[in-house]
Amino acid sequence: MDLSYFNARVRGLKGALLGDEDYEAFLKLDDAERFHESLKSTRYGPYIETAGARYSRAEEIVSEALRVNLSDTLSHLWKISPPQARPLLKAVVSVWEVYNIKAIIRGIARGVRRDEILGAVVPAGEFDRSAVKDLLGSRDLNDLVRFLDSWGSPYAKPVKAGLGSFTASGHIMDMEMNIDRFIFGHLFSTVGSAGLDGKVIRDFTVLRVDLQNILTLFKIAGEGFSRAGAGDFFMDGGGRLKKKEFFRLSLLKNREELIESLVSVIRDADIRDALSFVDPSEVALLGEKFDELAERRLARLSIMEPLSVALAASFIYSKVREVKNLRLLSRSKSFAIPESETRRLLL
């Protein structure tokens, strides 16, 4: 697959990302207003202006501007990507697709106002802005399934499979679990393993499954799930953490013990490093560490294989990281979070 032109454009996008010196300058600013003003002089300026018409507080303006900018960047990347590269890019963009469809299901199921749901989604990939608006026009979840079905969306099947449980008990967990189980299987079947790009994305998806399974273990630790109950949360397709090990580790109640056991089970040096770094009382940051790990791996691959799809995939992670960093800076200025703490959390 010839991605040279596409990759050149992605390099341009990547080059426009903020660098360490920009973050240093932002860190030195005294308050949220100054941060807000200096962000206006970057390419986020037009987004800040537009968001300023809707919101009044600096951190709300920045947050909305970043959300729309991220969505626009992902849509732009999707638009400029050659059609044959899209199934591969979907492996990364699917994180947002899954997030969006879940956010829409939650909102509709719980009767949340549509504009509030819209404020929580990040249109990307298959669910671009117009698709999201159409989906939000659904009266209920049955209607949502009809929309997805009529578009031929692959997400129609898992959502439909969970409708029975929702109708019977009002529970959406089955629907969400179906989507989580479906997406990895779907990615493995569409990506294939042919060619360099296929291999890159397949390996990346395997890593994503492994990281997801490890994070799930931390979330269910101490929740009192039985072996079988915890097994429902295991995602197939990973390579570093076997189902048998997942079952065994899911019974551990203590996070320290879990970290120790994972370090002894996982062979991957980067994952072991991330696990050793994590403080058992602050595993919340492990998700960010794992995102960083995935980004680093893709960035490494994009250097080793400069013509592969790894560059675009790594750009998506870098862009998401930039958005997170800017949100963090904005909130740290608004709520006077100490600079040392902000520095620690900057990704």
Binding site: R67, Y99, A103, R106, E116, I172, I220, A284, E288, R327
Partner: protein, 207 residues
């Protein structure tokens, strides 16, 4: 105090009443002491719980800000799914005859399963923030129950103190004065009687 004729029978009734009021006063004092003990126990517990709440909320808000910064969108979507109605049962507890409302203990902190969301794609920090705020809500309900109790017991102590003061400062001294008055009148009558008898004896012929 109602004025009555100074008779022996009245004296006996008054003495009986005096003893009954004194016993009542002792009982009222013990009730007040018991209520005070209960009051200070609740105060101590309540202050401890408020300290815990302050610690819990400051941690919860710090983590909320961090989650908003790192995963603000995910947090919003999670919050949309987390909405629910919470019913609290209130029962009446009897402390030394004082009826105080008490909120029945209930656990608002939900298990992962009860959240009705797939934990697979959910951010751990978002779930942790939810747990922290639910723990804070549990504590707020407990504190509310204790503080309602505290205000009812406090009101009762105040009212009992007023009663004790009225009895010791007004009622008992008045009764005591009346008893003494009747006793004096009766003694006077007795002395008159003795004098009359002596006089009668001296006036009798042949003595």
């Amino acid at each position: 105090m109602e004025k009555s004729s100074p008779t022996r029978q009245q004296l006996l009734i008054l003495r009986e009443q005096f003893d009954a009021v004194k016993k009542g006063l002792d009982l009222l004092k013990s009730k007040r002491e018991a209520l005070m003990k209960e009051f200070f126990d609740i105060v101590e517990e309540s202050v401890g719980m408020r300290d815990d709440l302050t610690g819990l909320l400051s941690r919860a808000f710090r983590d909320l800000e961090r989650a908003k910064a790192l995963n603000g969108f995910a947090l919003e979507s999670f919050a949309h799914a987390a909405g629910r109605k919470v019913n609290l049962n209130i029962r009446v507890r009897n402390i030394w005859g004082v009826k105080v409302p008490e909120i029945e203990e209930t656990t608002l902190t939900r298990s992962l399963e009860a959240r009705d969301l797939s934990p697979v794609g959910e951010r751990a920090e978002v779930i942790e923030v939810a747990v922290e705020f639910e723990k804070a809500s549990d504590l707020i309900v407990k504190i509310a129950s204790k503080e309602v109790m505290l205000s009812r017991v406090g009101e009762m102590i105040k009212s009992d103190t007023r009663k004790v003061n009225a009895i010791t400062e007004m009622m008992l001294p008045a009764m005591r004065r009346r008893i003494r008055y009747i006793e004096r009148v009766l003694e006077e009558r007795e002395r008159e009687e003795v004098f009359r008898l002596k006089r009668y004896k001296s006036m009798r012929p042949g003595t």
